[in-house]
């Protein structure tokens, strides 16, 4: 059974693409045949985060319009087996995405390519691209920063997921949506300057998939075009790894939620 997962947020810049790349890579590392699709038509970026930007020949819109078949357009990841990338096109024509077209691509990935997971990296906003990315989803990951505008937009997106997916339209009820809180800074939370994970959970009222700490490793990863989950020594990489395990049903305690208590010296002179 192929599972389609949308990674969404409403607000831009909160970590959707970073999360899509990490989730897809994590699933592939565990042996699941996985494709990650960039739905951000006109503003392609997943290719950069995955480090395959120079190997893009065909894209999502080429497949929809029939200029290429799915096999030609899929880019096989060089670092991880079972992992494929379907980039967005750089055309500005948003109407290139149609319900039938997207359904055709997803069906080809399921039936011809035998994918276990299809990760749909949604664009920001609530326009067509975002709706297309979410429409066929069986599950959703809502990426949120502990910050007012991101939380509000996430709530909006949760509302849209509850009514505008195929499952919702068919009366199957809400698709499971889980919260991934990114750029979390335990120190600022303890100082009362940032919403805590409990605060955000209380407001959004959905299950918590993971908390990714604010980390230099994320920028390092995108700088080098290697998903942060492959940086196994980093806090963010480990947090994503945990989130993938939870995604697959493991019960793991959440890590990186508290500051490392400093010693006396650190408290007196530390930064």
């Amino acid at each position: 059974m192929t599972k389609i997962v949308v990674v969404t947020s409403g607000k831009g810049g909160v970590g959707k693409t970073t999360t899509s790349a990490a989730l897809a890579t994590g699933l592939a590392l565990r042996g699941f045949k996985t494709t990650v699709i960039d739905f951000d038509v006109g503003l392609r970026n997943l290719d950069l985060i995955m480090g395959c930007e120079r190997r893009v020949v065909y894209d999502l819109v080429n497949v929809i319009s029939g200029d290429a078949n799915i096999k030609q357009a899929l880019i096989k990841d060089k670092k991880v087996d079972n992992l494929f990338i379907l980039p967005a096109s750089q055309t500005r024509d948003k109407d290139a995405l149609t319900i039938e077209g997207v359904e055709g691509v997803l069906n080809a990935l399921r039936d011809d390519m035998q994918m276990d997971y299809i990760i749909c990296d949604s664009p920001a906003g609530i326009e067509k691209g975002a709706l297309m990315a979410a429409y066929f989803a069986d599950e959703a990951v809502v990426v949120t920063n502990p910050e007012v505008s991101s939380v509000r937009d996430s709530d909006r997106i949760i509302g849209i997921l509850a009514s505008k997916t195929r499952h919702a339209e068919q009366g199957d009820g809400d698709i499971p949506s889980r919260l991934l809180l990114t750029r979390y800074s335990p120190e600022r939370v303890e100082n009362g300057q940032m919403l805590s994970v409990e605060d955000v959970q209380e407001i959004l009222a959905i299950e918590l998939l993971g908390v990714i700490p604010e980390s230099q490793a994320v920028l390092n990863a995108s700088n080098s075009g290697s998903p942060v989950i492959l940086d196994t020594d980093s806090d963010a990489g480990q947090a994503y790894s945990d989130a993938v395990a939870r995604f697959l049903g493991d019960q793991l305690p959440h890590r990186f939620l508290t500051t490392n208590k400093k010693g006396l010296f650190g408290r007196l002179f530390g930064g």
Partner: protein, 83 residues
């Protein structure tokens, strides 16, 4: 955190302000979710009419649509100032 931060007054807890504001706005936005598209406009125009006669706050007019077994109920709440 250095020794000086213990001497300075504690900074305001902005996280609790954020949480409070979010709880209010999210509750308000949820109440109109799934309703007809004209609802916000209706609310705005009603507010203007009420304000012709009584000075009321922006959130004094609350419009809500409920669905109950085959019929829709438009609920309208206007909170007037005291006195």
């Amino acid at each position: 955190m250095s020794i000086f931060s213990y001497l300075l007054p504690k900074r305001q807890n902005t996280a609790s302000v954020a949480k409070e504001r979010l709880q209010i706005i999210v509750a308000r936005e949820r109440s109109t979710r799934g309703g007809p598209d004209y609802l916000p406009q209706l609310q705005e125009e009603l507010l203007q009419v009420v304000r012709k006669y009584v000075p009321v706050d922006q959130d004094a007019v609350n419009v809500q649509v409920d669905r109950e077994s085959g019929c829709e109920i438009l609920e309208l709440n206007i909170t007037l100032p005291e006195g």
